[in-house]
């Protein structure tokens, strides 16, 4: 039961898992970098980043580079901790079933 509790619904999607994975090892990533790495569409990526932002797992910074708007994402402390818990739970689950 405790393992299932640690599986976090907020991460239970390929794109969200991907966003978190990229942000865990990078100081920040911008929208286009995530889009390219994950092979997601604009709308798809936007809705998943919004969901993660709402849960306070990632931080969003909007800025201008020259005249172009640029959106940068980074993880929050809470997001990092929750993601680690989620991955640990996944690993335990896999080990148990093998």
């Amino acid at each position: 039961m405790s393992i299932i509790n640690n599986i976090n619904k907020a991460f239970d999607h390929r794109i969200r898992l991907g966003i978190m994975s990229v942000l865990m090892v990078n100081e920040y990533a911008d929208f286009n970098m995530l889009k390219e790495l994950l092979g997601a569409t604009d709308g798809n990526l936007a809705s998943h980043t919004k969901a993660l932002e709402k849960a306070a797992y990632i931080k969003v910074e909007k800025q201008f580079i020259g005249r172009k708007p640029n959106t940068r994402y980074s993880t929050t402390k809470l997001g990092r901790a929750e993601f680690k818990k989620h991955i640990d739970a996944l690993e335990k689950l896999i080990n148990k079933q093998q």
Binding site: G18, S21, V22, N26, I87, L93, I94
Partner: protein, 203 residues
Amino acid sequence: MESKDYLKDISEIKDLMNKSSRFISLSGLSGILAGIYALIGAAIAYWLVMEYSQGTLILDGKIYRLVMLDLFLVAALSILTGIFLTTKKAKKHGAKIWDATSKRLVVNFLIPLVVGGLYILIILNQQKYGQTAALMLMFYGLALVNASKYSIGDIRYLGYIQIIIGLICAWFPGYGFWLWILGFGIMHIVYGTWMHFKYDRNQ
């Protein structure tokens, strides 16, 4: 979800973490070639000094300038070969050569290297020559260690080895030439061969 799906998730996470933060297209072959250039360059320098300066380097003579030119050519050729082979390899794998990851790699590599290079030029101007080989090895090693955070892990060990050889060289400046050959020549060849068999061949 089945555990098979979770397993796929985990491997995808790993893959994304690597792809997004590390530049993995560095070619092992370019390491080998850089080592060979260094050995050839060292042989030319050795020959110049032995043949024309009776074994001692006069520091503002013609031979000194030729040795400097020799050194510069070795560095330039190594960099060009590295860029060429890495670009070729990246193209083959459909990876981008100039993206955020490789930019970070280059910037972090260049910071210690440029500082070291300028420092060496400054002290050469103050007629302090004894530590040149040691300083080159150490700053190059530091540059590698610094860059390794943004590349696959092995480059870090090459960096450690260069730093250690550099420190030994600082202790025994008389062997500077031979330690330089060991660090820039032989170690590059060993490292390049290792990388080539570890990453390039089975891809």
